[in-house]
């Protein structure tokens, strides 16, 4: 009890202050270092303008279900009734019948918006990254469907098994702070 009444000397205040400042500086330096190392890390991604939709992304990923999935740039989409990324080249009818669909796993959803426009979304759980829809969309449509490596799945292998076999060298290392190469933004 009596210690509490002992007044602090200026020297003690100065010493404690210096300790606090030093610790804060150490913490800030650590955080800055962590941020710097995070900023300088790189991840794999597919340049959609180099991708030729060869289907190797579906077969060469070390994961049994590829980390590569189809994504959709809605700003590029024509919202076509006859979507060539969704429908078989010669569909029997323009409806959601399985026999009319192009995707071998049925991973694309078609939703009516207003006559004559339809919206197409990717069910990522079903997509295997075979790029069949990417070829159909790019060949006949606006090319709004394209492949990207999903970083919630990618193991970021030092030597990516798909990058090794990619015939168009579309696999590139990108900064982890900008991990996606969206087709409508590059």
């Amino acid at each position: 009890m009596s210690d509490q009444n002992v007044p602090l000397s200026r020297r003690q205040i100065l010493r404690d202050g210096l300790w606090t400042a030093s610790l804060t500086a150490c913490g800030a330096a650590g955080a800055a270092l962590a941020a710097l190392s995070r900023r300088d890390s790189y991840v794999w991604q597919i340049n959609p303008h180099k991708c030729i939709g060869c289907d190797r992304c579906a077969t060469h990923c070390v994961l049994s279900e590829s980390a590569v999935k189809c994504v959709h740039a809605y700003s590029m989409c024509g919202y076509c009734d006859l979507c060539t990324g969704y429908f078989d080249p010669d569909p029997k009818s323009l409806d959601t019948g399985a026999e009319n669909q192009l995707c071998p796993t049925g991973a694309i959803r078609r939703r009516f918006i207003e006559e004559p426009y339809f919206e197409f979304t990717i069910d990522e759980k079903l997509c295997i990254g075979c790029a069949k829809c990417v070829v159909g969309c790019s060949a006949f449509g606006n090319g709004s469907l394209f492949l990207q490596i999903r970083h919630d799945r990618c193991l970021n292998c030092n030597e990516c098994a798909i990058a090794r076999v990619c015939p168009s060298q579309a696999f590139v290392r990108v900064p982890s702070r900008q991990p996606y190469l969206m087709k409508d933004q590059i």
């Binding site: 080249p89 075979c130 060949a139 076999v165």
Partner: protein
């Protein structure tokens, strides 16, 4: 393994050697090829059969190319038109280039901005569409008039008649009608249930039209894969065309992208994606093929592009002269190919 004298049996040694070689080969394959899988591909169900679709029966190709492709000298050729005398006009690179039928350039008519459409009237006047406005030039390149700009428009085709000029506006998906002085007279093709007009669908900026010899407009409705016939007052008379990757129909999401009329009746259509130029009769029945992917130097739909703009798919435009020669502008290669009947 060893015989009773302690020597190694030759047969046993050979078996051991074979097993060793097999093990080495197997290990090598597993270790080396596991990271490569060079032969491993998805099955046919996972590939788009575009090469198969591109094949055309040679017997159905009724035209042949005259000479070699003519270089326009442009970096961004947008549209082509031909007159009855056999001259053809290419719009692009802030100019209209006038060529004679043999491919020699006669003159350049400079424009203030990038052209998006061109039309040539029977009186020889040249109508250049500059996105949202039209400028009129005489055949010797003198500016006759510059019409007032339209508030937001993307003019992709112009057809000039005796008293009216029609322009296809891909932005608003309508046809704009003007008089010869550029005064707006009306709009054609907008959705109108009372007139049984479903509306024009233009998913990509290709929207063509022409004035047919029967006095009606022919307007391409690419999103519905058909050609629609309208009166000048905007009444839809009939239409023809259907979607199909087969030769009879129009492939892809939105085709045809260009239309031209033959002097003896019938129409020339151009398709993008699976590039095809075909001839139909006046009722819309397929007559034959002018050129297919092989004749047009078609490349794979997906290719490696160093710059995003290299990947922008560009199409074809077509024009026909008085002798029935078909001029096909390849917008990606900036060349003109001339086809005549075999």
């Amino acid at each position: 393994m060893k015989d009773r004298f302690g020597k190694i049996n030759n047969g046993s040694a050979a078996v051991l050697l074979a097993i060793g070689a097999f093990a080495a080969g197997f290990t090598g394959y597993v270790l080396l090829d596991r990271a490569n899988h060079s032969g491993k591909r998805a099955g046919a169900d996972y590939r788009y059969p575009i090469e198969e679709l591109a094949k055309i029966d040679p017997a159905k190709i009724l035209y042949r190319q005259v000479g070699t492709a003519i270089e326009t000298g442009m970096e961004s050729a947008a549209a082509i038109e031909a007159d009855w005398a056999g001259n053809f006009y290419v719009a692009g690179d802030r100019a209209v280039a006038v060529f004679s039928g043999d491919g020699s350039k006669r003159r350049d008519i400079p424009l203030v901005s990038e052209p998006t459409a061109i039309g040539v009237g029977e009186d020889g006047l040249i109508y250049a569409g500059l996105s949202d406005r039209i400028e009129v030039y005489s055949s010797d390149g003198q500016q006759v008039s510059a019409w007032a700009p339209i508030h937001t428009a993307l003019l992709t085709a112009i057809a000039a008649g005796k008293t009216d000029v029609f322009a296809a506006d891909a932005l608003h998906k309508i046809v704009r009608r003007f008089d010869k002085q550029g005064n707006p007279l009306g709009l054609i093709g907008a959705k109108d249930p009372d007139r049984n007009i479903e509306g024009i669908v233009v998913p990509s900026p290709y929207f063509d039209l022409l004035i047919a010899p029967d006095g009606l407009l022919r307007v391409v409705n690419p999103g519905r894969h058909r050609i629609e016939a309208y009166t000048f007052d905007g009444y839809l008379e009939w239409h023809w065309g259907r979607p199909s990757v087969g030769l009879e129909g129009f492939s892809g999401c939105c085709n045809p992208i260009a239309l031209a009329a033959l002097p003896k009746g019938g129409y020339v259509t151009c398709e993008k994606g699976l590039v095809r130029v075909k001839v139909y009769d006046e009722e819309g029945n397929l007559v034959g093929v002018v050129a297919g992917p092989d004749q047009l130097g078609w490349q794979e739909p997906l290719r490696v592009c160093e710059k995003p703009e290299d990947c922008i798919s560009r199409g074809l435009d077509a024009a026909v002269d008085g002798q029935g020669r078909i001029y096909v502008l390849d917008q990606s290669k900036n060349v003109v190919r001339i086809f005549e009947k075999k």
